[in-house]
Subunit: 394 residues, 2 copies
């Protein structure tokens, strides 16, 4: 008799964003006249830039001609894109081999699928609060999970704790949901801790492009020693508006070895067996992002979102509300006023300001009492939203 | 200390097609004057049809406009594509709910990832020979694997055997690599066997579009009772030349329940957690395949490949070489002449006819002594290849 994966029974049923969507939908159907401003889910709103759409049209034309048609591509990604990603890192002083870059359909797939190559016996260390996928994917595998508390006391950037060791350590910087960014010194402590304990760091760099201060690290591989103990997850979703195009990448240096095996070789085996590569046309679009035109055009989009983040943080500062993030991140993380719970503040803002955010508690118990606003909206809507938020403080 | 997934150490290192590619590359570099005809790897060669490229261009334009841009889509796939697939099945008399269709980036991903929802304690039954991914993905999970022998005695279409039970049963029809197709009666026996033993059938229908005889089943859901014990994997790779575009789908009826859980609910949870949906533009391209124009245009491509298959099987019949497949499949499976082993015949054909095929032994020990030729080449090249093959029989 077929047995299901029993670990799935340990997953919580409702998903954060579907609950948010349901509450918003209920509110809007009861209040059809209200103009609700959505600053909840972390999805981009600006359309694809010109360099990207040009590359897509050109690639589609190639696929329609017998001489230029492309069938199966390399599972690890086309050379042209891996070289473009390698060069992108090189411009920040991180030297990678092309065989250390693995192209995929997105960082969400990669952060989930990477667990295939690890034993289920490993213990896992996850910040609390954090992007819920790290937790759920490990529950699915039945791994023992430990949480490290993020809070105002550490700026939502926990540091290594000798009493809290694990085989697999998740770090996300700039952080989702808090927008907080580790500095080099802190990441250096994590690398030293991982090396001392034989741990792997899974470093989620999906928001690295929002870092504007050159003194802050955008890749864990800017830290000495990381090439022995870290895997990095990159994404074009927020950098270039690829949430609907789907392209990401894993950076896995050949020097990352455990039990005498290169993890990169295991990952390549996983991908060649359970994945058939990212669409050629999408890879051409991704390569265009890393071209000079693409960097200039996506840079302008990033600046637009950063300006929105500034509008949000300025309003919160004026109100005296504790917050972090925003400076190097599309996310602003704030303390709910008046000691409200996350979901109470969600309901309060929806009803009184017609503004939708994301309850911090949805990212783990450590997020209770906090709230996330995103900078991905339209500028005038962001200004209007913050005007309404201010009104609620009167 | 991080532990790797030890099951990976049980995987065989070399991959069939990389060995083929290496041998061909060695031969061509030593013999630069020879024109090698490739009938090995199962990749399409005709470019995308007009309906598909038009849909792609239109969707790219949508993505470049602020009003029509699409970010994150539903992980299960857009309604328009799930409805198109539902209707595609309905035209063959198979009634599905839209919530029973799950869009993905390809059947290779799906057949690998579906195993996430099953316990590693399950036993697995795999035909020998068969598409190697079924075996490797289960080795990665450490499941106990049983093989059922396919051979000339059963037309490479094994039937249930009371002495060979398992929790998970793989069937592939039209088969890769043999091209053999199960009839309704045989599939009925498999469904009855699965229901009697509490097994699930994983039915790989990637080549269903090649079936031209309406008396042969193209979906396991044409068989009564399959809605309680089967999951079907569909693909646009061979149907519409999507090997480089990447789109497939899983059909998982809500009536498939084990341990009182709908497997569809577990699969949806897997996909929403470890996958972020297929690119919007690719889904628009896939929907175009199911439009009347798309069906007409891809139908012409299928006819072209079928004609090639006919050229291959006719030549083999004239030579008196035992073979199967080709009639309802792009693959022709033949017995190596003169009792040669698969790899010996590979070398023989490469050297004496400059024709590349795939050694049957690469699909499992049961394929030893057999050889696969594919119909995905250009027509004149196929004619020339078979002329050369005939020459080797002189």
């Amino acid at each position: 008799m077929l047995k299901i994966n029993q670990n799935y029974l340990n997953l919580k049923d409702s998903y954060l964003f579907s609950t948010v969507a349901r509450k918003v939908s209920e509110y809007t159907s009861k209040n059809p006249g209200k103009r609700v401003i959505r600053m909840g889910i972390g999805d981009v709103t600006l359309p694809l830039c010109e360099a990207v759409t040009e590359a897509l049209h050109t690639a589609v034309d190639e696929m329609s001609g017998a001489e230029t048609f492309r069938g199966y591509g390399p599972e690890q990604g086309y050379d042209f894109l891996r070289a473009a990603i390698r060069d992108y890192y090189a411009r920040r002083g991180v030297e990678l081999g092309e065989d250390e870059v693995f192209v995929s359909d997105g960082a969400k797939s990669d952060t989930g699928n990477i667990l295939d190559i690890f034993s289920r016996e490993n213990t896992v260390l996850i910040p609390n609060p954090v992007y819920p996928v790290y937790l759920d994917t490990n529950i699915m595998d039945g791994r023992q999970i430990k949480f490290m508390n993020a809070g105002e006391h550490n700026g939502f950037l926990p540091l290594p704790d000798e009493s809290l060791k694990a085989d697999i350590i998740y770090l996300c910087s700039p952080n989702n949901p808090t927008g907080a960014v580790y500095d080099r010194e802190s990441l250096g402590k994590w690398v030293a801790f991982a090396k001392a304990n034989g741990s792997i760091i899974l470093f989620d760099a999906a928001y690295e492009a929002f870092v504007s201060d050159p003194n802050l690290p955008r890749s864990i591989f800017e830290i000495e020693g990381a090439r022995e103990c870290a895997i990095e997850f990159g994404s074009l979703s927020k950098t270039a508006g690829f949430t609907g195009l789907r392209c990401g990448y894993v950076v896995l240096p050949r020097t990352v070895k455990f039990q005498e095996k290169e993890l990169g070789a295991l990952w390549l085996r996983r991908q060649t067996t359970k994945f058939n590569g990212t669409a050629y046309i999408i890879q051409r679009a991704a390569a265009a992002v890393f071209s000079p035109e693409g960097q200039e055009q996506t840079g302008r989009q990033l600046a637009y979102y950063r300006e929105n983040a500034g509008i949000i943080t300025q309003a919160l500062s004026e109100l005296g509300v504790w917050h972090t993030g925003g400076a190097h991140s599309p996310y602003v993380w704030l303390k709910c006023p008046g000691g409200m719970s996350s979901w109470d503040y969600f309901d309060f803002l929806l009803e009184n300001a017609n503004v939708v955010g994301t309850p911090g508690a949805g990212f783990g118990s450590g997020g209770e009492g906090y709230f996330r606003l995103t900078a991905f909206g339209e500028k005038q809507a962001t200004i209007e939203a913050m005007r309404r938020v201010k009104e609620t403080f009167r």
